[in-house]
Symmetry: C2
Subunit: 325 residues, 2 copies
């Protein structure tokens, strides 16, 4: 676009507008909208900032996007906007890769330590004012498979290596000598490798290839004492199969930050299972994350205004930002 | 002693004998005893292995120790056997320094992550089947003061540095350029330095100098948002002052693995306080710890039989094994 005219920017948000937008408001006509007003806001808009990244409203309003050229989403996963009409369009899609990496890595390390040191039981015993000594596990020397080799998976791998765990990755292409993972196994042959690991961390993007990859066969392949951590997407897992594997003590525990239905419905059996740690899709959301998300958008907005290449451009065929891209 | 005669070894234990003692039983007359039989077992004994390291029975039976030359305790802290008659005797005292270091470091890191990621509240909300998103804290870049610069403190410092925290130490002598801590502040001026730190970890040995060092003045000096972690000894803390500081929200939380009375009595207010994580003196006790403790003793026993210098010799004036000693 030319740098002289004032572009129209639609911002999909709830009641709460994104912070720190003043610099952008000075150079663009900004239309803040909720889901109901999205179609109106998209008409003649040049760009769309999906700040409410859990919204599923974009496909239904897409028909009104008559001159959109850029869509930025305030999340790492782009699955909510990977509908056919966007895929097939010329609209450039960018995401917020990088913002959540280290925060999610800390969350994963925390959950691994919570399992190893039996924190949930300590809290339960504290509630009962009961002093009961137990032996706990070391994490040094234990093995972890990180399924997903994007930047979040890499940050997890680096942190877990730093505390002495043995880490491998699983991704599209098997390889050795990866700087963060060492060995990367092929996700297509995941179940052959699962028996080797004490912990399995799911952080793959949600695509047609990864949907439901953690099913009964995968949980059956894991070590009986294995713990499963999901910080990717709920739909990577066949939830019923996970519940069954936990009930049968086929695996020893699960820490889940994401679910196929969010919020997790009150009648879901996961809520009340022993050895399940539930958190409400918050692993990446450190204090200041909303400002950081707007900063990533604002940086790309400056590039877009200046006609420079955008960062974090999603490969709409793959469903994520390719490594090195 | 001569290597030809068979020494008499008293072992203070409860109902459960230490594991892996067969090699020692082949070369020594081993007398396993509980507290009631300790005086009888000590008569004519050459060495005492205090396997039940929480026992307070040794001072009361000490009068019978007519030819004891060596006392080994299966713990890092030697305060249960630091009574005047032992101090003044020629009996060599050794401890189990090293066994618990890395396990306790992992526990401390886990507690710090539990605070930062609000795990206790997640567990509470899970019990109520309530989905409530919160923002969480990063640990990278946060500051920690480790009070106690022995091997456990050093292991804690190394692990917390590995995950990107800013670490300093507090010990007897102020200094810079320490390989693990960088800066070490003087414990005598602790309260001047406490305001700088997000987390304060107590792991000092219990001595006349350190007893009650965490009192009302210390908690008043800490940051209002600070968290306190005690993996040293309960008596390092004036418990009533800690309770008061937590009640007044003078500090934000405490993770306590040790208490001035153990087991912690059911009516102690700490059990029911928000933001207090209680565990039953287990932070170092990984699966296999009992075997590891006996291994440390058996190694020293071999040295003792061979007339070689013992390792982990406690300076009975200081109350711990001096660094580099």
């Amino acid at each position: 676009m030319s740098g002289t005219e004032s572009p129209v920017l639609a911002v999909l948000c709830g009641d709460k507008h994104p912070p720190d937008m003043e610099p952008i408001e000075q150079v663009a006509a900004v239309r803040y909208t909720d889901a109901d007003g999205l179609a109106d806001a998209l008409r003649d808009a040049d760009a769309l900032f999906v700040y409410d990244f859990l919204s599923t409203a974009v496909p239904g309003a897409w028909h009104a996007a008559n001159r959109l050229r850029w869509l930025h989403i305030a999340s790492a996963g782009v699955d909510p906007v990977m509908f056919p009409a966007l895929r097939e369009s010329d609209v450039v899609l960018t995401n917020s890769r990088g913002v959540f990496d280290n925060s999610i890595a800390e969350y994963v390390l925390g959950q691994i330590l919570a399992f190893a040191k039996d924190f949930a039981r300590s809290i339960k015993l504290q509630r009962e004012r009961t002093w009961r000594h137990r032996e706990s596990e070391r994490i040094e020397g234990r093995s972890v498979l990180v399924v997903g080799t994007g930047p979040i998976g890499r940050s997890i791998a680096r942190l877990l290596r730093a505390v002495g765990m043995h880490v491998a990755g699983a991704g599209r292409t098997a390889r050795d000598g990866d700087p963060d993972f060492g060995t990367v196994h092929a996700s297509a042959r995941l179940n052959e490798h699962l028996p080797e690991f004490d912990y399995v961390v799911a952080v793959a993007p949600l695509t047609e290839q990864t949907k439901g990859m953690f099913d009964a066969a995968a949980f059956a392949a894991m070590k009986p004492g294995a713990r499963f951590v999901n910080v990717g997407r709920g739909e990577l897992v066949v939830t019923g199969d996970l519940v069954e594997a936990l009930r049968a003590e086929r695996i020893a525990g699960a820490a889940l930050d994401v679910f196929d239905t969010e919020p997790l419905p009150p009648d879901n059996p996961l809520w009340t299972m022993e050895n399940v740690h539930i958190s409400p899709h918050m692993s990446g959301d450190f204090v200041g994350w909303r400002n950081a998300l707007v900063e990533v958008f604002a940086d790309n907005f400056r590039r877009w205004r200046a006609g420079q290449p955008l960062v974090n451009v999603v490969d709409k065929g793959l469903g994520y930002v390719p490594s090195g891209g």
